[in-house]
Symmetry: D2
Subunit: 354 residues, 4 copies
């Protein structure tokens, strides 16, 4: 009997790949068996990652010694695969893997497919059941996706507020770290002493993904939420951590105190199940007037990088509106960590078998 689930990573040498490697290196339930990449096939992982690996983390030798493989799903026997592929590669390869085994992806390629769940484990775990629809594709496995890094932080905070106060409108302005663009990503000439008020397709993703994430399962489809959202996305010279300042309007009266309480007390299935990667608090509320701050709060909480830190909860323009600021770690909660937590939930809940 296997002690741990055997897993692989598609796109292992990239920036999000590095977070997967770090989080899987000592994972109690998963054992990394395959690292798949394109340009470094045949190399040891320790060499393959050179040049792209702009982190201080050094994997253990059992990972460093893995040989990078090409994407050949039929030859790779694992319990499941993680994917953090670039969009085009994801488009091509993820169905090939999902055809054979459970595949969990950060990539944007299939997020909006009607039969593909877009999961934040604390928010919409019940969307898992969409995977049954995928049997119609003739797949033996299935594909589950995680949202865009900016959508995740936002939705973690919208969920409890929407549940309690019914949100009608969201105006959100983001200040996103350069790691969100991958490597080499944003040239230093473009961002030192600068802010760029544009990230391709990001505002659209925030809008459309939120409707799906906060949507309701009705039968075997998701009925989208119908919240007004105006997103304005900016790249700023920070390394990790996406800050988002949010203005909401609600149907019910809302006070900063009530909002803080709703955010602070929010928990989900991962917390109930005490999953290994579940932070004790999905949302940490800070009272100081000048928090969250990117560098100080991006690793806050019991599982570094998995909590969304909220602060500056204050009145909007009247008693049906509110302002607040959130910070979430874009490559952990915003990517690798969210997906690993999703898989932990699937495993514990018994959803890995179709």
């Amino acid at each position: 009997m296997k002690e741990k689930l055997e897993v692989g990573i598609l796109g292992a040498t990239g920036m999000v790949g590095a977070e997967y490697i770090r989080m899987l290196a000592n994972h109690p339930w998963f054992k990394l068996k395959y690292v798949v990449a394109k340009r470094t096939v045949g190399m040891k992982f320790r060499d393959a990652k050179k040049g792209e690996w702009v982190t201080s983390y050094e994997p253990p030798s059992e990972i460093n010694d893995l040989i990078v493989q090409a994407a050949e799903p039929e030859k790779q026997q694992a319990d499941l695969f993680f994917s953090c592929l670039p969009t085009d590669a994801a488009k091509e390869l993820e169905p090939l893997y999902a055809k054979i085994l459970p595949t969990f992806s950060d990539a944007s390629a299939y997020r909006m497919e009607p039969d593909v769940p877009l999961i934040i484990p604390e928010i919409n775990p019940d969307h898992w059941s969409l995977i049954k629809e995928q049997t119609k594709r003739g797949w033996k496995g299935f594909l589950v996706t995680g949202p865009n890094c900016t959508s995740i932080g936002l939705n973690v905070t919208l969920k409890p507020l929407n549940d309690e106060f019914k949100i009608k409108k969201v105006v959100v302005s983001t200040m996103q770290a350069v790691s969100g663009a991958g490597f080499p990503g944003v040239p230093s000439m473009s961002i030192l002493d600068n802010v760029i008020p544009y990230i391709k397709d990001e505002e659209e993703k925030v809008y459309i993904e939120t409707q799906k994430i906060l949507g309701k399962m009705e039968g075997n489809t998701i009925k989208p939420a119908s919240m007004d959202i105006a997103a304005m996305c900016h790249r700023v010279p920070t390394i990790d951590g996406h800050m988002e300042s949010v203005y909401i309007e609600t149907e019910k009266r809302i006070t900063p105190e009530e909002a803080a309480e709703a955010l602070r007390s929010f928990k989900g299935i991962p917390q109930e199940l005490k999953l290994p990667t579940a932070p004790e608090n999905p949302i940490i509320v800070r009272e100081e007037p000048d928090r969250p701050q990117t560098r100080l709060d991006r690793y806050a909480g019991s599982v570094p990088g998995m909590s969304v830190v909220v602060g500056r909860i204050r009145k909007g323009i009247d008693d049906h509106s509110l302002r607040y600021t959130l910070l979430s770690h874009n490559t952990i909660r915003g990517a690798a960590g969210n997906t690993i937590l999703t898989v932990e939930m699937f495993y514990k809940e018994g959803w890995l078998k179709l």
Copy 2:
């Protein structure tokens, strides 16, 4: 007969002082006669500025050789004084100067006094007449103020949009440069690789100053505008240039094209009078998806730092809302430049004499 108006600067050695010095050094109408500061009285300006002068600009020797004076308005014979004092010093000293001669200030101390104009020359020049009310204070001079740096950039863009589409609501998120906090200002430990979502009193200033700036003169008072404004202010690691991303809701239908046209064609008295510090276009509209950018656009236009650059004009959530991003140079249009332009207008219009 004097060829040029003789002027002085209160707070000459500070960060905004440096911009005044630069802009007055070769000004066709003004001659700098007095530099007033507190801790360096008696020193030559060239020495007084050391340590605080974090700019590459080096004043001409006729300014460098000026002896720094204490604040003694009765001994200082000038046509007018500029003030960029810290708030507390402004509170104490500006009335002493205004008692004697025309005083134009960037400081926040008296901005919201009912009889003190809060001027952006292109926006609310008619507010000048408030100064007549100040004769009731027994002053021979008067006090005119300029708005907060963040308010200025915002209001330059709100004005033409409000005139044409009648704005009901504004949600604005700012990304402000460190020079806005003066010197020493923001510690480097606080801002490298970081965003701080808090600037003391800034959001309140944006709200309240806007009501006054966009208010209407009725008799001898200003009737405030009554626009809903939710501001969210952030400090980011840039040196100069405040970026603001704005969401507005309007009474009339609005399209991005109409909005762009209203912004692009906006002109004011300074442009009509061709004042020396008036930019040809108070607002420059960029079409590229990724502009304005802080480092690339802060000096745009015919008078560097005096134009507000607007871009990313796009739909809000429906046809009564709009999103856009603006950039304005916080120590030029946002402080020294705006005040110098105000004085130029007062001079040319003959408002300097009560």
Copy 3:
């Protein structure tokens, strides 16, 4: 019987104080009993640190609940005190503490006193015996100092090279992080997009401290080393971690391979004694052409921040010279960590009692 030594910190709320707090919070041998500071006397530590505490680390409540005390050595019963006071305060207060109990300081005030040891535990542990000379001052305690943050990183690498190849000349150029200047320290306006080729007194400290650190105990005095050193110190926009690029000339022939071996194999008493804060390797040698890098390597090694990372070991101009680059964490190995390691050694070796 006390299970742990009771210790206090002078200057607990500063930037280096924060590292002491973090490193002492779970220390197996020490228990923090007193936090001493000047402007926050009577406040709980959790409140006292606000504003200055630009780190993500949050102390446990037994430390956060400590009441900040004034410097009153006669009322404070502890086994020893750490000091990270500013120079002037150190000058006044450290003798008052040393008069009563063992005091270990990062401050520069007494480093060059002939009877005060200047210790890097791996380098010159035998200098401890100087403290006996301090009985002549009529002290019941004693004072031990640690070197400047730049000197520490440099000397850790010079020691093994000097032992084996006899160094005649050192030319060192440093690129130092802003945390080295404390808080508020370097204004952001002074360092964003900038390098400052000057740090007050730093080059002199590197020179003179090195002569003492690498000097030999002869009887009851230290005979200084007599190495030529030309230091050139720069402040760069990094948060933590001092990089130093070093050129040395040696009496004996030297090759990069031999130098790497000497550095890699270097160990000291802390490693022999397996002290809690001793890194497994005082020096980590990297082979890649582009390492060490500040952000990637400052926490390298078994005790984060305690190892000096060396790379780019290459020929100088001939076979009696060498170039290399080192990185050391300025507030850990360069301050708090080095002193804690010193105390661990004193304790284990039985040198705490005069």
Copy 4:
């Protein structure tokens, strides 16, 4: 008769290309006729530069309207060509242009060819005569190169010191801006909050180019200087401006005062001829302890970016050694500006005709 020389630029859309465009836009002697690039052939220059043009400078419409051409020297009738091509393209294309007309290049491809001059106009103008040797290649034109950006700043300062004090040894440590790596160049993930102690081939270039630049024409070859040089090159998070801290040893006794005088009084042919791009002072000496600084001094002097700013002139280790720091603008004096000045000198001196 043509009023101005007609010139072209090879590699016009790159980072150095942008400086050429800016400096040639209003040049009194040159008229830009051809912009040559690879991936944007057939596009208007205004469109071709998009994406790569990370500068606030906007060319006049007569340049913006130029159609980007492929490299077809035989079809392009001009008086001379500038080249700022990438190395590989330079290797291939520069000889094709030099075969036909005078070609002046920043690229490294042919710098060390024995018959190709490597010119800094103030330092080694007499090396121009090497071009006669190129007739042996059967060229009707010729090829003149400019040194690496780091070599230029260094050599401008070494020249007067070597002339007066005879330099034996140089240890130089550089802190280089990201613009030196072109666009996209250094990824932001690699340099934010970081220093990289490695720039490929840079240290070797500094060494070998200096021997040629400071070498002497003997007959029709250059006899290299034979100075010991140990260079240590670093990339730091600054946008423009290379700082270099230098330690030298000299045959003759040297004092900081004498060194300052030698540097301050240094002039060359460009100053004598009052060439349009010649700075009044090739070297500006600052007396303050904390200058030069990258952001404050990179545009110092009468022609912005063309002067090398020197400061911190202080004793080395004895009276035959010296330390100092220099700053030079890497894309102006270090590339485009130096080459334009070279061409101005060639033109005025009548060296453009073989």
